[in-house]
Symmetry: C2
Subunit: 209 residues, 2 copies
């Protein structure tokens, strides 16, 4: 089987708990996965460290990275750039690690376009009412905030079928196993193992003679 890593994009509803899920997955299987670190032009918050939460860049540096095609995808939110540096991702894939990008649907689709083998995973709570409960919070949010969160969830739900797999985040441990098992399974896709198939075919032909 192919030993090259798979590029994985994880998206999901805000409130789906995907951040916690990623952390648990990496803690349990540190040899299998690498989490991509984004580059950004926004100011570091207290406690954030360059190269851990983000690669912090000036606007000029970031635009140079864009020009040199050093980013797999990037976007601008509220005057700040966010993007995925290509080098780290390619290095880790070559090492045989599955590299996880935690980005939103627009970025996910851009990555899939550039790398058609990308695996797209969408994390969701088991039901809409549980999602709503998480979005509404503990009665401390204003109606405006709740409305804007619900609108966003409706938009996010429209993109769900563009993803390859749905990960239902109910019980955390079970969810980690589910995700790990889906990714392990993907390594066995015949479309990801064309070299293995070619080799078996050539060897059998040669042995026949």
């Amino acid at each position: 089987m192919d030993k090259k890593g798979i590029l994985i994009v994880v998206s999901g509803f805000s409130g789906s708990g995907k951040g916690t899920l990623m952390k648990a997955l990496l803690a349990k299987y540190p040899d299998n996965y690498a989490l991509s670190i984004s580059a950004t032009t926004r100011t570091p918050r207290e406690g954030e460290m360059d190269g851990r939460e983000y690669f912090f860049k000036t606007k000029e540096e970031f635009e140079k990275m864009i020009a040199k095609e050093e980013l797999i995808e990037y976007a601008k939110y509220v005057e700040n750039y966010y993007g995925t540096p290509r080098k780290y991702v390619e290095e880790k894939l070559a090492e045989g690690k599955d590299v996880i990008l935690e980005i939103e649907i627009q970025g996910a689709l851009k990555v899939k376009e550039a790398f058609p083998d990308t695996l797209l995973l969408f994390v969701t709570p088991p039901t809409a009412s549980e999602l709503k409960a998480r979005l509404v919070g503990r009665g401390t949010e204003t109606m405006d905030v709740i409305e804007s969160r619900m609108n966003r969830a409706c938009e996010e739900a429209l993109g769900m079928d563009r993803y390859d797999y749905l990960i239902v985040n109910d019980d955390l441990d079970q969810c980690v196993e589910e995700m790990h098992s889906i990714i392990r399974g993907e390594h066995h896709r015949s479309s990801r193992n064309s070299r293995f198939i070619e080799e078996i075919r050539e060897d059998l032909e040669r042995m026949k003679q």
Copy 2:
């Protein structure tokens, strides 16, 4: 997630050990899987029981099943019919079991055409030389037999990339887990969960109002 079973076709090189693999999978996970039983017009061999190894039919009965579209696929080898009865498969799928058909590539592609959601798995030894060793046997086969087995393996290899996943049969226990994990993963495909996606969308829209 969708509770309906998945229709699974398992093919593989002769000598890949897929029969043993199926038995081990069903023994370990009897609640998850059902093995489809073929209908045939060939004479029962000693020890074979109707409804266990095969459903034994007369030529007339079999042709009536064809006419009534009671078979998902069928083929004729050496003057005998072999086919997959539809009723058993559909009953087990509705019960939520994943139903496994162990058939060859021509049948596999026919099933996939009739049921596009069918999952196609191909069982292979890890290398061509290991496959050859199994095909050649223990030095007791004539050159003719070996040549015909090698020719057949070369043909079978040509169809490998029509399958969704490759299952490398090296260690049996590991292989059972691999296969189970691939199938469990498939249940999470977004394309197999369109109803779940629809429900989340509708519920979120309704809750927004």
